[in-house]
Point group: C2
């Protein structure tokens, strides 16, 4: 893996060449001003290839051996937020290794769900995650699901956590130290006004455990960054 | 401490009233549309007071007892960065409990130091930290120092760390687990291109230890958020 070479995710493989998206070709030709023969990294099916540009395709030179050090699949459940906060979470959560982002309709969200705009928003969110994955040299792109209702969280399995500002809750460190199964972790972040009483009660019935984040009072978009950082630190060996 | 009451840092105390800054009064009167008799929290000399508004002053009603749970003083040394990245670091580092932010001139910074603009920039940076402190209900505002040269870091004491992308370095978790003295921690973050060889060598002579952050490749502005989150998590009891 060469650190200063740009990385792109391929649309498809055609014999010994990869097809790249129009956005990526614009980045290659216009932003980076690269030419035929220049090297790029291309990811396809979670595998990394060193390629050279050739007629707007990426021709495979070598396949790199990569190791996947991940130990837990992390799902982040977030409220609908204003664009700037949403974009920050999507970009930073991708850098911090999130695997799945699930936007959920929550009672106290300032942003209301508008199904007519969902496809456009999803495309935008996924583009942010793709670009952040390239920048962070990931071999995968976090999945951004459609906007779900709270009830749809019942199909999610793993270590299930919600964040609480109540000092009575156990803190996240104490809780994680007691867990043995780190296969999958689901983190639910509430909106600015917090989860409603009903939502909290409902999540309890789905076996979500409410943990405190210590003494810090953070803006809503900072909470996932704190949680993902803390998890990465906890899972470091 | 009432969570939904706005918090402000007082300019000065005059008998049983606090004088607030013009910016804070604008926020109170125009943004929040508060009136005489409305309650605000005011911090003065790291003490918290519940006050009521009265002729653009804050009249003390009660002094609150507060506990300071902090266990380590955290200094963040950062390069000069473009405005948006700088602002993000200042705001988020404040939310994540940083005590001191030290902008340092580094070889590979894209942004060059311009002493004629220093005062204006400092005022801007300090305003961001003050507002983030109010939002995060802190009892203190992180100090933002003048822009220093690398050599001026020799007067700093404590656990001294720089971040490395080299896999040969020990990771931050292993390193911190071995430390006993957490009084003071100094974290140096390099610019986009990293610290130069000379800077790295120089920091070694000042007893800075280079640690890795695991397998994540982060943008420069994400590194301090990761580090501060990890530290908060490590120091949680």
């Amino acid at each position: 893996m060469v650190v200063n070479v740009q990385r792109y995710f391929a649309l498809e493989k055609k014999e010994d060449k990869f097809v790249l998206s129009e956005n990526d070709l614009y980045h290659i030709n216009t932003v980076m001003r690269m030419h035929d023969g220049d090297k790029v990294e291309v990811v396809h099916n979670n595998e990394l290839y060193i390629c050279e540009l050739c007629d707007n395709l990426a021709k495979i030179l070598t396949k790199e051996s990569t190791t996947n050090n991940k130990k837990a699949r992390i799902t982040l459940v977030i409220p609908l937020l204003k664009e700037q906060k949403m974009d920050l979470i999507l970009q930073k959560a991708t850098e911090l290794g999130v695997d799945e982002i699930v936007p959920v309709i929550m009672e106290r969200s300032i942003v209301k769900f508008d199904s007519s705009k969902e496809d456009k928003k999803l495309a935008r969110w996924r583009k942010i995650c793709k670009e952040a994955s390239e920048q962070s040299k990931r071999l995968d792109i976090p999945e951004v699901t459609r906007v779900l209702k709270m009830e749809e969280l019942k199909s999610f399995n793993g270590v299930k956590l919600t964040c609480s500002t109540s000092e009575k809750s156990e803190n996240i460190k104490k809780y994680l130290k007691k867990q043995r199964n780190y296969d999958k972790i689901i983190l639910v972040i509430g909106p600015e006004g917090g989860l409603s009483k009903q939502e909290e009660e409902y999540l309890k019935t789905l076996d979500f455990v409410s943990v405190s984040l210590g003494n810090l009072i953070m803006r809503v978009e900072t909470v996932p960054l704190f949680l993902l950082s803390a998890l990465n630190y906890e899972l470091m060996e």
